[in-house]
Amino acid sequence: MPFEELSKKLAQLMKDTQEIELKDVDLVAEYLEFEMLPQMIASAAQAMGMPAPGVAQWTPAKLKFDINFPGEIETIQFIRSKGKTVTIGGEKSPPFYNFLGLEKRNPNPPAVTYDVFDTIAFSPPKPIKEQYGDVLKSPPEWAKFAVDKFGADLITFHSLSIDPGMGDAPVSKSVKFLEDILQAVNVPVIIGCSGNKKKDIELFEKTAPATESEVLMLSAADKATWEEVIPLAVKYDHNCLLWTSLDLNNQIKMNKDAIELGLPRNRIVMDPTCATLGYGMEYSFSIYQRMRMAGLLGEKDLAYPISGGTTNAWGAREAWMSEKMAPEWGLREYRGPMWEILNALSLTLVGLDLAMMFHPVAAKNVKDITAQFFKEVPKELNEKGYYDWASANLKR
């Protein structure tokens, strides 16, 4: 019988057959290939123009997977001696994973620190000016406003104007501002610098001892200043932000150097540079993700919390440009804060523990949404509410 005919006949016989059992059969062959049979049936079925064989039968199955994270990220605290404490880190799972068991749940939501600058000569974007108004002229009032009005848990005070290119203000002025801010608010404060090596070292030399009774953070030690700045954090017991420029290996190296200089593991926060949404954010995204996964898989030299200046989002013209200049992008009032939210939020999904933020509405949204991940899953889900979307009138 020709093959095609045979397979057609076989296919007819085999229609609706799931299994063939051979009884009392002798198979005599030098070489036998069992996979012939299903192939033959399939080809025969095709030859007859039938749809692929389908069986209507409920088939129970279970979702299974196997993943394991043996590492743990350091827990870092910012402590006001007579005020509030903020804790970050301590993760045993990738960000927001809740399905690896209760004991693996991450203990601390990402923290948000609100930016306060010693000058507004750089002209903050209009949506932010509108939120803060006159207090922008006074750093202590600005900090107090952020805490009282917007619920800031942390403040970063940036001394930009000490840079010779930005006014060359004396460091003593920054020390005074910092002391006034610490008087005005009871939340921890991060001490931010200008980017000028000489002045920054001087800034930390003066501010670190002046705030010795607190555990704050020196922000930051970089490749130009680390040899001077890290010992100050060690001596006066502050956290130290170790800042590198989008390079994983440089970050590992600086982390190791800090340990060698005597900085305790629980005083280290990493900043591998936070790039702007739309302008390279994905580099930060992947570096954060690699660092965090490495830390969780047991690489001790990367098992530290990550901080990022998500305020950089406002450098994107999509965030700050007025609708008059860019009508095709919609209202700035909406896209501006959203830009900062997405910049910060997407990075929290890959390991950002501390977001340095600018617009209070953006900061609040990031805090609110990330906090939601740390609540218990309700026992009764409102399933109907979900499936209603397909047929309901949706508000606009």
């Binding site: 389908g54 196997d66 980017g195 996964m293 919609g330």
Partner: protein, 484 residues
């Protein structure tokens, strides 16, 4: 990460003849690009024409098929491929198929339907050399009426080539409309534990992709096994999108669990694209008060989904023109997450002519990060400014980071000035640097022996800057005085 094949695994199954028919010099080169998904196995004529190679071809197909299968929605130029991913995290390789953004449209819009579809068909944002668009329309059966739903489906396919998801939990209405436009390959939403047989049979017979949905993951996986047995060839998984404290964790966990099971554990039932419906915010949460605040919550959920490589999302916000801010933010995030991490977006360093620069034309300096260079160049061209653009090798890093990191400094700019003989093109020695790089002025003046003018912080300010402040004679006079 699952065991990904190596080029050698592929090479071993090729005929190794180095015949060059495919355009590659060697079978090894062919194997490498197969894994990079630049070409397909169909590009090897030997494999496909020689019956003796059939087994090897089958083996190769198995080796090279991604652990998460791709699903195609729609036909023609705008057909949308979702899923088909090889890795959980973009740095492990790259994400291949960007999250499909589908905008919901109700079937009872009446005369507004046509304008809405036309807007959605054409909406686009040009960004850094890419054209960002949405991928399709999710038509919802709000009328509850089969004729209205069917007519809306026909109307949409008549005026737009955008792929459609037909959304109706009543299988009779769903399948009637699906039958009407089946040659457009709509995605059917959705089969449940109650409706799988009817919908699955129809989908198998008509080769249509189907969404299966359940908030219970074991039930969802069982549905997947069941539908595959029924002969359904393309499946999309919808674990449900739940809002609110704790509920959002379930949403996030389920997407992660499904992706992990598919990609890292080769689960034969989880191996499909995963979708989310941020639009369901509007039926789950009390939406009184400021509507934009609520739109924010929807856009935020969509952003979380895009950031974790969810294959397809359905949005409510974005349907109207004044909601473009939401699409702008989401499509930019998507452009970023789905950029190929193996390619660093640098621009070629050099001194580029913009317009017809004369001897006193200004020279603008920028970095060789592509996302910096392109907008600067566009602003100069758009402002009709005749000038030179000096692109400095900052190792592909943007201005702000490169100033802080030291890649964009007096030394590197001075090098570029020499290398590209910049001052030979003009009769002055003035460089205009970005406002963000103000602090390097001093060192640059010393290193390049020039006068440095600090430009605006953003290149959009250049036209105004040139009009008001470009007085080269004055600066050169100042420069000459300094030299004395």
């Amino acid at each position: 990460m699952g065991k990904r094949a190596s080029p050698l695994d592929i090479y071993a199954l090729l005929d190794k003849s180095n015949c060059k028919d495919c355009g590659y010099d060697t079978c090894m080169a062919f194997a490498t690009d197969i894994l990079e998904r630049k070409i397909t196995l169909d590009d090897c004529t030997h494999l496909n024409q020689d019956p003796k190679q059939a087994k090897k071809l089958a083996k190769l197909r198995e080796l090279t098929s991604p652990p998460q299968k791709p699903v195609i929605i729609g036909v023609g130029d705008r057909k949308c491929i979702v899923g088909g991913e090889e890795v959980l995290m973009r740095h492990q390789l790259t994400f291949y198929n960007k999250a499909g953004i589908f905008i919901e449209v109700p079937d009872d819009m009446g005369a507004d339907l046509e304008n809405t579809i036309k807007y959605l068909n054409d909406v686009k944002i040009e960004r850094m050399g890419d054209t960002l668009t949405i991928e399709g329309i999710a038509l919802r059966c709000v009328s509850g009426d089969v004729e209205t739903f069917k007519a809306a489906a026909k109307k949409i396919t008549g005026i737009s080539g955008l792929p459609i998801i037909l959304c109706c939990l009543n299988p009779d209405i769903l399948l009637t409309a699906a039958g009407e436009i089946k040659e457009k390959k709509p995605l059917l939403y959705a089969a449940t534990k109650e409706t799988w047989e009817k919908i699955g049979t129809f989908a198998a017979q008509n080769s249509l992709p189907v969404v299966i949905t359940s908030p219970n993951m074991d039930e969802l996986i069982s549905l997947s096994a069941t539908m595959q047995k029924l002969g359904v060839k393309e499946i999309v998984l919808d674990p449900g999108t739940f809002y609110g404290p704790g509920s959002i964790s379930k949403t996030y966990d389920d997407i992660m669990r499904l992706r992990t099971a598919a990609i890292d554990n080769d689960d034969p039932n989880a191996c499909w694209p995963v979708m989310g419906v941020p639009a369901s915010y509007w039926t789950q949460v009390d939406t009184n008060g400021d509507v934009v605040m609520h739109q924010y919550q929807e856009v935020i959920m969509a952003a979380i989904m895009i950031a974790i490589d969810t294959s397809l999302i359905i949005l409510h916000t974005g349907q109207k023109k004044d909601e473009i801010w939401g699409l702008l933010a989401l499509m930019t995030l998507r452009q970023s997450i789905f950029a190929d991490p193996r390619i660093y977006p640098t621009a070629e360093p050099g001194c580029f002519k913009i317009g017809e620069p004369g001897p006193d034309a200004p020279i603008f300096v920028t970095s060789n990060y592509r996302m910096t260079k392109i907008p600067v160049e566009q602003d100069l061209q758009g402002g009709n400014i005749d000038c030179w653009l000096l692109v400095v090798d900052s190792e592909g890093i943007g201005i702000e980071s490169a100033v802080a990191g030291g890649q964009f400094n007096g030394g590197s700019i001075a090098e570029a000035v020499n290398e590209f003989k910049v001052f030979e093109k003009v009769n002055h020695r003035i460089l205009i640097i970005p406002g963000m790089a103000a602090r390097i002025s001093g060192t640059l003046e010393d290193e390049a022996n020039c006068y440095v003018l600090v430009g605006p912080r953003d290149s959009s300010g250049i036209p105004k800057f040139v009009e008001e402040l470009w007085t080269p004679d004055k600066y050169m006079a100042e420069f000459a005085e300094r030299g004395d």
